[in-house]
Each structure stands twice: as structure tokens, then as C-alpha cells.
Amino acid sequence: MTINEMSVMICDDSMFARKKLKDYILSLGVAACYEAADGEQAVDNYKEYKPDIVFMDIVMPKKTGIEAVKEIIEFDANAKIVMASSVGTQNHLKDAINAGAFEFLQKPISNDQVLKLIEMVAKGV
């Protein structure tokens, strides 16, 4: 898969955080970039769009990012979910990995980190 064929989903309750990440991801030329503003929407949108990679915040209303990861993994065990959160505490790291996230980024996240992960998923690593 090339980056141009990829679809990405960004889940963050902050409109600002979503816009910043989306601006960068769209600049890479991905095929589609979906958004979700809470954990519930993240699960629903994943089921609908099946994005190739998901960037997931933790602290969100309705359903936390960790809960959303669990439900997405139940639905699709191969989902590629990256936690992108301001709260990379020991417990959150453990919970995220146990829930099935494959990477954890502590905010502020850099464009380079995002690019590396997208390339990795594109290569099918």
C-alpha cells in the first residue's frame, strides 16, 4: 500500500488537536482522513470506514480512548491504533498496550513521528 492509498482516522475531543494533525496528514496526500470527537464516535466511524491507521486520544468524553481501542480491536483484531495522548503515564501506557494499541505518542507529537508510523503501516510492518 502507498500513502496515497491510505485512509486515516483522528480521534480527539479537541478540535484544535484534530485540525493540526489533519492538516499535516492531508499534506502527505492520503486518500481519506476521518475524524471523531469522542470515543463512541471513534468506534462507530471505525466500523463504517475501516481506516488503515487510527490516531487516538485518551481523555475524551462519552468513552475514553482506551475503551474505544478495546471495542475496535474486538471488531477488528488487526486494527492499527496509535495512542496520541497528553497523558502517557505508566498506567495509561499499560492500559493502551493491553487494549491493543501498537504505539504510544506523548503530546506534543511531532510531524516526523506521525510520518514514520504512517510509512510503517503503509509498508505493512
Binding site: 479537541s14 481523555v59 468524553p61 497528553s86 497523558v87 506523548q106 503530546k107
Partner: protein
Amino acid sequence: MFAQFFGSYLLNEGLVTRQQLAKALDDKKNTKTRLGVLAINAGYMTAGQVEFIHQVQSTVDKRIGDIAVEMGFVTKDQVEELLSKQPQDYLVLGQTLVNNNVLTNAQFEKALGDYKSCNSLSEDDLNGDKTDKLDKIIADFYKVEGTADTARYTTYLTLLLKNLIRFVGDDFTPLSASVVSDANYENTVGQKIKSDNTDGYTAICCDTDIYIKFAERFSEEKLDTADDFVNATVGEFLNLHNGLFIVNQSNEFGEEMTLEPQEFVYKTAVSFDKTTIDVPVAFSFGTVHFIISNI
């Protein structure tokens, strides 16, 4: 970060006004630190010697450094050493105040000396952000009666000021903190921090024009109305800062805290039942209040 506290010291001593300081903070990005200020700071020349050299320079076409060496005030090596170092931020601030005719060289020399001695700072301490000295300055500066865990507040505030420099700008002056029972500003973004033994609350408060400017700085975008995007931007700064704080606490003390989604309040006072401090930070575009309760 010493520049910000040096600015605050000048303000508290009545040596500069709020407006003069705000202007200097705004102007300092264009300031080149001159040899005189560097030499005063290093203790190689007195303000009197610097003034004398400036007078001499107005009559002859020579560089200040060369005149200073000829006069025997400094050695050639000292001049080279001074000019080779990247000037510290507090010196750039001092130079700007001298350039703006707010302070004379002599007043700057005295203020700097007094500031260093009252905080027991050596030249080495001021080079870089040595955390032990900085922690002490911050702890002394924000000494507030009634806050249960001083070390924790100091850690929180030190990180806050660093994050402001990193993500918003270094053109600010920390003002003295006070205990408050409510916060009544046009805009308040609050976030709860919880753990097994804390039920804390933090917030950023300010009036709308300042709120928009703060969001512009953090988002690096042009913004003109306090809409949902501006709320989300200021909220994300608070979330980012609180996140870095609880990650540090988790890594250093194994203490696990969690954050809750932010709450946005417009033109409504928020009151507190636990000990709460208001930490005002005066940016060149206005004063932003950081509220910290029971963290």
C-alpha cells in the same frame, strides 16, 4: 527563565512600569546585546567605565572593545570571551531596557547585582536553567500560605512557565500569586486532575481579547473571534501542560493521576471550596491567570 523573574524583580522594585516592561519584552527580539552590558554582567567593567567608553566612542571611530582594551579596563581575551558567548536572555532584556532609556547602565548594574545577591545567584547559575536554583526562585516567588504541598506546586509552576516559553512565547513576566475563592473572567477553561488522594482543579482564565491572542500564539494561526476553535486551542494548551505534569509525576514518583475533559465557561464566575491560588502571568498582549486548586 531567569529573564522572566528578573523582569518581575524590576517590576516589584518599582524600577520599571508594567508598560515599560511589556514594551521591552516585545522589543527584545530585535535587540543585540552590546559589549558594555556583557562586561557589566561579567563584572569586568563598571557602569561608570562603560559610560566613559561610550563618551570616548562618540569622538573617535573605534569599536567599544578596542577602546576598553586600550583604556586597560579589560583584556583582549576578555573581550573575545564576552563576544563569543550567546548572551543570556536576562541580559537581552536588560539591554533593551537600556536602549529604551528606561534604565541607565548604572541602574542596570545595580539591579542585576542586587537581584543576584538576594537570590544567591552566581554567574554559573544564570548560565542555563539550573533547576535547583530555579526551583528555589520559583518556590520563593510563589510562596503562598495554605497550599498543602509546596514542592508539588513548585513543580507544577516551573513546568507551566517552561511550557509557556516553549509553546506560547518568552515575552512574559510572572506576577505574584494570591489565594482566591473564585475566578471571574470572561473566559475560563478548566480541567480536573484526579488521583487516589487528590481532587484537583486547574484553569486558564482571561478576558476575550487576551484569550484570542493566547490561542493565536499556541495555534500559530490568525484568529479573530473567540469561537469553539479558540476554546479548543486554549483547552489543548492546558491539557498538554497538565498531561506533561502528570507524566512527570508518574515517572518520578510512581503516582498515577488522571485528567478529565476540559470545561469551558463564558462570563460566569467559578468558585472554589478548597485552597486555590491564582497565578497571573503578564504577557506583552495582556495578563493570563492560571488557577490551581488542590492538586
